[in-house]
Point group: C2
Chain length 489, copies 2
Amino acid sequence: MSQQKNYHMSPDEFRRHGYAVIDWLANYYEHVEEFPVLSAVQPGEIRAQLPPSPPEQGEPFAQILGDVDSIIMPGITHWQSPNFFAYFPANSSGPSVLGDLLSSGLAVQGMLWSTSPACTELETHVMDWMADMLDLPGHFKSSGSGGGVIQDSASSATLTAILAARERATNFASNEHGLSQRLVAYSSSQTHSSLEKGLLIAGIGRENMRKIEVDETFAMRPEALQAQIERDLAAGLLPFFVCGTVGTTSSAAVDPLPEIGQICREYGLWFHIDAAMYGTAAICPEFRYINNGVELADSYSFNPHKWMFTNFDLNCFFVADRAALIKTLSILPEYLRNQATESGAVFDYRDWQIPLGRRFRALKLWFVIRHYGVQGLQYHIRRHIELAQQFSQWVDESSLFERLAPATLTTICFRANPPGIQNEATLDKLNEELMNAVNATGKVFLTHTKLNGKFTLRLAVGSIRTEAEHIEAAWQLLQAGLVKLIGRK
Amino acid sequence: MSQQKNYHMSPDEFRRHGYAVIDWLANYYEHVEEFPVLSAVQPGEIRAQLPPSPPEQGEPFAQILGDVDSIIMPGITHWQSPNFFAYFPANSSGPSVLGDLLSSGLAVQGMLWSTSPACTELETHVMDWMADMLDLPGHFKSSGSGGGVIQDSASSATLTAILAARERATNFASNEHGLSQRLVAYSSSQTHSSLEKGLLIAGIGRENMRKIEVDETFAMRPEALQAQIERDLAAGLLPFFVCGTVGTTSSAAVDPLPEIGQICREYGLWFHIDAAMYGTAAICPEFRYINNGVELADSYSFNPHKWMFTNFDLNCFFVADRAALIKTLSILPEYLRNQATESGAVFDYRDWQIPLGRRFRALKLWFVIRHYGVQGLQYHIRRHIELAQQFSQWVDESSLFERLAPATLTTICFRANPPGIQNEATLDKLNEELMNAVNATGKVFLTHTKLNGKFTLRLAVGSIRTEAEHIEAAWQLLQAGLVKLIGRK
């Protein structure tokens, strides 16, 4: 039968245009350092260049790709630049991008085992690999009582943990009758905002979230946690969930997991560990101490899409008891029934996450682990930590700058504090100006936080392209920027 | 400064391996029809071929890609096959895959406008294009009171709508104090299971979900909706949310949106429209009637990753009042503060969705719209509808088969009902056997549902590769399979 007329890209065209996009990216990687790290466009500037209406007729691919260069690129902030030190590293690497490309092209749905068995089984397998690579306890593996699943983000992992905890605490009555008790959740004051968002989504309410005070390292004070739980119990409330963090967003603090875990055991609370940022470090035996206490956790998550060279989205979420999770999130309508599910012999990962649909994300994680090997990953993790520690040492040795938090692993919190300025408001203003000045050069991008009320600069190391020269250049730029601001020449 | 030792894939290696993956996919597209559509592996078969431990040393890329062929492919169910008629179409097309490849490679975070302005502005722009392409009312555009945002799935869009509705109904008290009132949500008995899941996540509870009865076309009865709302009000409950569907999962029924919308206005309920499956049809003026009543909706979502040739994940979610959505989901910690956000001149899409992080998904939608043009999209949508209607006609003309629901657009619900079988249980068994028999050939993949208690086969048309010959072959296969089962030769 003759082929119908069609507008689809033929396999030959796909090959040709695909090569062009691969070339475009290879070229981008070769020159990424030359772009201003932080986009300088003004609001509305990108949109103003786009036609008000979609095209009636299709356009040549070369023209579309050309517009990426001329219209889109000026509005890109280059997260892949070796000089990107803002927020957190959000890496992409060759093997990850190519694994993701296969996933986009195969375009299978992994909602059920039966909708593409390899999608589920490879995911279970690499998640068990990851558990071993981090040296997590056996109950987090599929061969134990729990298992791992890929989520889109740590936000979703936290929300998923909150929901399973909510149902466990209410004996699944919330799912059945709606939430009616006042449940209380706990974290440190430094915990990521996604915890609050997750609690609001789950109907817990902001006033039932306790932000426990931290010590001088910005880590949760366990005795304050216990005292607050006691107060809430005395008030007739139902404590149900504690989130401990391995590498807080602001200052990379590590909460005292063993002590928190013991308290959770004592009071029967769900203990979730958010290791989004620093979990990757546990691939190296010498940094595995950051996870001490994980054996007491009900759930644990970390983001290969931050520091494990895997492009967004890829969060690894582990639970100790998969039955509680599945019972919380499983709904089985007729149109999803199938023999494999009924047999009970398979995982259906839709029951481990918020949405129904899911990409074949395990491919990119598998590609990354196999391309680098465990030793390759360890090498780069150690290198990043060395570079950040070098920067920290420069700050410590400087009379113009000071460190504002322990230099844990790869995130350095610091500020300019030149002699002669006593006023905190003046220092805040100086540091904000310094940050804006160095960012405006396009040579580096740093962001800030506040620690103990102080405007704090952050240098977060972790790009796959960052080498000693980039750390040195950032340090030079900060020093020169400060000297210019305070008028010392 | 000399380059450090590293294990990363160099740009040249990326170019070489990237070409190999592009070739692999082009070859896959050329031969996708030759694979058995439904994977025949048994549980555990894929995992058994994977090494128990991750490699210590990195492996050559060719070896990894080789394992995709030898280990992964037998476990793939081919959603891109022209003979995939199961569940729903989940398309991937050349321009979409290449747009997604750019997104993976650039790997920018779009959580804030400032983290990559082009990511936000292109998204706002193509969502406005989409609103125009579907002829949605102006208040769903960014120039009006609302706007569009890309979500990962219709599940997440529905959950997001539920949350905004919950907060609007409780005057934002749920976010503040936790959910304490008994809120009630409504949908038809045919609504997708993601609504129930969303309601459970939001703390509403299963018993506060009303599944309204449907008419003979499987569309919601508005008078039954109104009666139920009245009963719930009389019982002191708080009705807050109605979900109408454009193309139900089982039978592609379209709920009477104008009548439902009027009822929502009258009682002040949030009206969400889930057009996940059929929204795409509205790109053609002659099918726009499916959205009649959308002007009364508070939110609307459809999935280009189903039937608009865009690979997962890409759901378009529109709201009429963005302020309610943003107020529901916005949390602004210090480390995310920036000048653009404070100015109020930009959208920060993290406040429009569940997670914080987000991919640059607008690229693939932009690529699809520009590659096909509006006319190219219309051509293929019309063609798919023609093909499905042809199949429906064959069923109607057959003495061995019967249709079990209106043949709306591209999903045909039918069953074998040969003369002489009166017993419904026997018919159910016969149809289940027929489905398993045709699926076992590997030449086609169909799934089932139940309508009025009857085991119902579904043929869902929408793959970019499906042509008349594939529909004909499926029909031949079903007829031959039935004849074999009932012993008529």
